[in-house]
């Protein structure tokens, strides 16, 4: 029978062993040097299921230190069930400080949203990515998409966007709208809504992306050009909330959640980013992201 001592082993700081951390760190540096390029990495199994944020976790755990303050969000919410689970896990293995306050965090792990509040050069945002390959919808084999990236052969992608326009009158990509990074690589921004996409462009913070199941990581360094794919005559546009208002704040220049009421007919809208909503309610000043789309909305407002 096994000795008891075997069952009492404690885990390393930040769970992952140092060998793997080093590997992830080396690859993160390469990812920064080649913005938008997907670096393959070992992606060891975690006690969290594949598809539930393992890639984000690998990055967060390779980055985090004793002085970090962690914010963990899922669909814009700090209190979403999976965010709670992941936050607990990181907290348990690092004893780090955690927060809901966007401004206070040094490290933010997110699924499917960028905060409404603008991030600073002291902050790193880590995205959980389900499908890192923006070309997967047009080419199913990995060795082929890799070649397409190598040769900047993006004709198939442009064709698909064009076909969508011909068929439906618009590029129908919703969340995860493909972007061109630094004029070289087409990149999937992870399934963030189009509302968030312009905030990747020329940001102050570092954006890092981890796709655990597909074993890829990539990066957008600060002050890097990130442009949504668009045509001369068919422009990228963000989601439209101009006819609705947040039920709690009356504000509508933010990404909204749509909630059906119990009667199944009436709908109410609320600001999606839970910390931003809290701050609006409590009338705390927030430095919101600005970009040409949001600025236009604010101008129309006046």
């Amino acid at each position: 029978m096994i000795e008891n001592i075997k069952f009492n082993s404690s885990y390393n700081f930040a769970f992952i062993d140092e060998t793997t951390k080093k590997e992830i760190r080396r690859k993160l540096l390469k990812a920064i040097c080649i913005p938008g390029y997907q670096v393959p990495y070992s992606s060891p199994e975690m006690p969290i299921a594949r598809g539930w944020g393992t890639g984000g976790l690998h990055l967060t755990l390779a980055l985090i230190g004793k002085t970090d303050t962690l914010k963990m969000i899922d669909q814009g919410s700090d209190a979403s069930v999976n965010a709670c689970n992941l936050r607990d896990f990181v907290q348990l293995t690092t004893n780090c400080k955690t927060t809901y306050d966007t401004n206070e965090a040094t490290l933010i792990q997110t699924r499917h949203r960028i905060t409404e509040e603008k991030l600073t050069d002291k902050q790193i945002m880590v995205f959980q990515v389900p499908q890192p390959e923006p070309l997967r919808r047009v080419e199913r084999y990995e060795y082929k998409t890799r070649q397409m990236h190598a040769e900047s052969d993006y004709a198939k992608m442009w064709l698909t966007l064009y076909e969508a326009f011909v068929k439906w009158g618009d590029v129908m990509h919703g969340a995860g709208y493909p972007v061109m990074v630094n004029g070289r690589y087409i990149m999937s921004p992870s399934p963030i809504p189009r509302w968030d996409v312009p905030n990747l462009n020329m940001a102050d913070c570092i954006y890092l992306f981890g796709a655990g199941r597909e074993k890829r990581l990539y990066a957008v360094p600060p002050h890097t050009r990130v442009e949504p794919l668009e045509f001369e005559d068919v422009k990228f546009h963000i989601e439209n909330f101009k006819d609705v208002k947040c039920e709690s704040t009356g504000y509508n220049i933010a990404y909204m959640d749509e909630m059906y009421q119990d009667d199944g007919i009436t709908k109410k809208f609320y600001i999606n980013d839970s910390n931003f909503l809290d701050k609006m309610i409590e009338k705390i000043a927030v430095n919101q992201h600005s970009n040409k789309y949001i600025n236009q909305l604010k101008k129309n407002e006046q």
Partner: protein, 379 residues
């Protein structure tokens, strides 16, 4: 209650965790001992160790108990545990020719060196439900054991050693296809780096050995039914235990224990080409932890199919087979659909509504024109 509330997610998780533990225990039955699971659920444990890619029967049994008997979930727990273990040594190459054979059969020959050894198998018994198992008593178990052990001729036990393989016979006669000249012999470790396609054979073998039994079977079956190379012949299927040795820093070989393995060598015919006119036999190879014959057989079929390089069939396509038989990843991604997706959904909804609006405008335009035309006609 909504599963994403503004606050209270942490609370809900804690309670859900407690509730599922309650479900495991609520009928107040006696706790199952790990030792019992290990010995009485031997095949489940073997499957968990194989798919979890960690040979640790006790830990597999704990996982099985913890996961209420879900084999794939147990394999997942084992894999996560495996990832935290330090890799101090790589074992020397296991030679299955030195296997202490518990079972070996060949369908290609009536007799093979050492004979056909049926060993522990239910292959030839009727799958009738045995209701006497409902009330199995300790006394009955003891009676069975003493009668069984009484029949064993102790002095004969010593004679059983190891046996040559069937493929050695074919090889000696020159009937096996020589290895392809472009054969990539690089040894990768799929748990330490991301797989790049096309990947060397070492990657195929490792990933299939870690693959999910059901997934492997689905694809291998498709290959046998007509979407692949057809029906091979089992050269040899053997199950038994093999010694594991590691070399220490001074280069001395150290014995660290035995593992039980199932090995399958599948004989298939290959297509001839202009250069290679002889329709040699080719071997597909399967090796899995524990006794899991279905998986070993399917692995050998898929391994051969992938090497044949004809990729129009899913089961022959390396990328397709290896990505999609990875059960722990597939299960994780399938279940991630349960996570909230309302941000993504809202974005799609927004697009769709605009599209509907655009079309309604076009429809309205068209209707106006039609109405105009209709008026003109009436005039």
């Amino acid at each position: 209650m909504a599963y994403v509330s503004v606050k209270g997610g942490a609370d809900a998780i804690a309670q859900a965790k407690e509730l599922v533990e309650y479900y495991r225990l609520k009928d107040k039955t006696k706790p199952i001992e790990i030792e019992q699971i290990k010995s009485q659920f031997r095949l489940a444990i073997d499957k968990i160790m194989g798919e979890g890619s960690l040979y640790a029967p006790e830990y597999a049994a704990i996982a099985f108990k913890q996961m209420e008997g879900d084999v794939l979930e147990s394999a997942f727990v084992l894999r996560a545990f495996r990832a935290t273990l330090q890799r101090k040594y790589y074992s020397d190459i296991l030679d299955t020719r030195n296997m202490f054979v518990k079972r070996k059969i060949s369908s290609s020959f009536r007799e093979i060196p050492g004979g056909q050894v049926l060993g522990p198998t239910r292959d030839y018994s009727q799958r009738l439900i045995d209701s006497t198992k409902y009330n199995e008593s300790e006394q009955e178990i003891e009676n069975f054991l003493s009668s069984f052990e009484g029949k064993i001729e102790k002095e004969k036990m010593q004679e059983i050693t190891s046996f040559n393989k069937v493929i050695d016979l074919l090889k000696a006669e020159g009937l096996l296809m020589p290895a392809e000249s472009n054969y990539d012999k690089t040894v990768k470790d799929v748990t330490l780096e991301a797989v790049k396609y096309p990947a060397p054979r070492s990657v195929t073998l490792q990933m299939l050995a870690r693959g999910e039994t059901g997934g492997l079977m689905t694809l291998a079956y498709s290959s046998m039914r007509g979407f692949g190379d057809g029906h091979g012949t089992i050269g040899e299927l053997r199950y038994g235990s093999v010694k594991v040795l590691v070399s220490d820093t001074q280069g001395r070989k150290r014995y660290i224990g035995n593992v039980n393995l199932t090995e399958c060598e599948m004989i298939t015919k290959i297509n001839t080409t202009k250069e290679a006119k002889i329709p040699y036999f080719a071997i597909g190879y399967g090796l899995v932890l524990g006794q899991n014959e279905t998986k070993a057989i399917c692995m050998s079929i898929l391994e051969r199919g992938i090497r044949s390089g004809k990729s129009e069939n899913p089961a022959n396509n390396q990328e397709f087979v290896l990505y999609h038989t990875e059960g722990v990843e597939a299960m994780g991604f399938t279940n991630h659909l349960k996570l909230p997706h309302y941000v993504t959904f809202q974005s799609g909804l927004n697009n769709l509504r605009e599209s509907v609006k655009r079309n309604t405008n076009i429809q309205d335009e068209k209707m106006k024109v039609y109405k105009e035309m209709a008026k003109q006609f009436q005039k």
